[in-house]
Symmetry: none
Subunit: 221 residues, 2 copies
Amino acid sequence: MRILLVEDDEKTAEAVSASLTAAGYAVDHEADGEEAWFKGDTEPYAAIVLDLGLPGMDGLSVLRKWRQAGQTFPVLILTARGDWSERVEGIDTGADDYLPKPFQMQELIARLRAIIRRSAGQATPVITISTVSLDTRQMRVTVDGVPIHLPPQEYRLVSYLMHHAGRVVSQHELTEQLYAQDFERDSNAVEVLVGRVRKKLGVDLIQTRRGFGYVIEEPES
Amino acid sequence: MRILLVEDDEKTAEAVSASLTAAGYAVDHEADGEEAWFKGDTEPYAAIVLDLGLPGMDGLSVLRKWRQAGQTFPVLILTARGDWSERVEGIDTGADDYLPKPFQMQELIARLRAIIRRSAGQATPVITISTVSLDTRQMRVTVDGVPIHLPPQEYRLVSYLMHHAGRVVSQHELTEQLYAQDFERDSNAVEVLVGRVRKKLGVDLIQTRRGFGYVIEEPES
DNA sequence: ACGGCATTGTCAGCTTTTTGTCAGGTAGAA
DNA sequence: TTCTACCTGACAAAAAGCTGACAATGCCGT
């Protein structure tokens, strides 16, 4: 299985590369963002390990371009520990997992295995439920084919609920997903958010399970 | 569905236990390795959540002994974040998945569900008894296919009884499951709850065993 | 830099739902 | 019958969620 490692720090790159090779992967290494983008777009990789701070082109931009081009390979992002904003952006952009630096090689390998396995099952760039579609590539929502503009936070809410359609998602879980860890717990921000989204996408899409959370119901099973 | 939680840290154990219970599982808790081994080898668990560093017998040894004895239940291992070597060993030994601490409860539950489903081949997150179905994902109850709205406390009651179908559950046990420990003991809240649920799901579903408790009878087979 | 617009969290008030309590009623068992 | 366990309808307090208004913040174009 071929892995593309995008990492500009040479020492890290060598170490990671050696470990992945030892684990049985065929590893291509790229240090420059633009080069990496080209390779990812043209070669059939099983997964990509992507460091952010790159020369040439920023890591997130590279990822964004891949996704826009329709590439669905799983991407594991290496981030500086605790960098919340990078994480959120990564989610928006379509990363599959994050590994805070510094990390152990075994952990990297385990996570890589996990996302490869996961991606083998499902990778849909567009989720549609009743009249609402979520295009994760273009980060766009349409209702009856009409594009609806959603600001970032509202988009994330819809995205999360649609990715977990059919499951009740508690307010607490949503708070964890949408806000930094130290966010005030007794805020009603999520409720407000839900209200705003409902106003735009229709009141029926997101249902309230009073006392439990919110659901977007799956089309009948 | 019964889960065996093997965890020596009391705080963690309580938190995990509460979440799993809330998710509809019947949780047995064991802190000692040898005790855990015996229980796992003799009781029919749907899955086991296994923490490593244990007193009595090391967690991995316990797992190894189970596997040598031919036990096939899925095992989810909890590991300390840094302790990746344990993780790798755990997988080798026959663990089905592992979760690094600290983790989010929702993640634990999701993974647990996943390995249980995998091990059962085609198990669904839905329990059906006669005309009544309980969908644990959507947290919804249907009667003859018609969704019935149940508020949290009523839902929990039904969920608990259905997960323990065929067994008489005492009022005291229900009180322990549904209310905080210091709940007034001479309250008839459970009776009221049962009444309300019966009104919605039909009077036959929950049967009274005067002097003992309540049962939902399993469909004989 | 400045003004305007978009975004988003907070807040207060309001509506709806949930749920325990209570006071009697009913029914099974001895 | 009589005791006890359980059931039920009404009620009120509390909780949960919704909404409009507002303010802080940040962004964009001039």
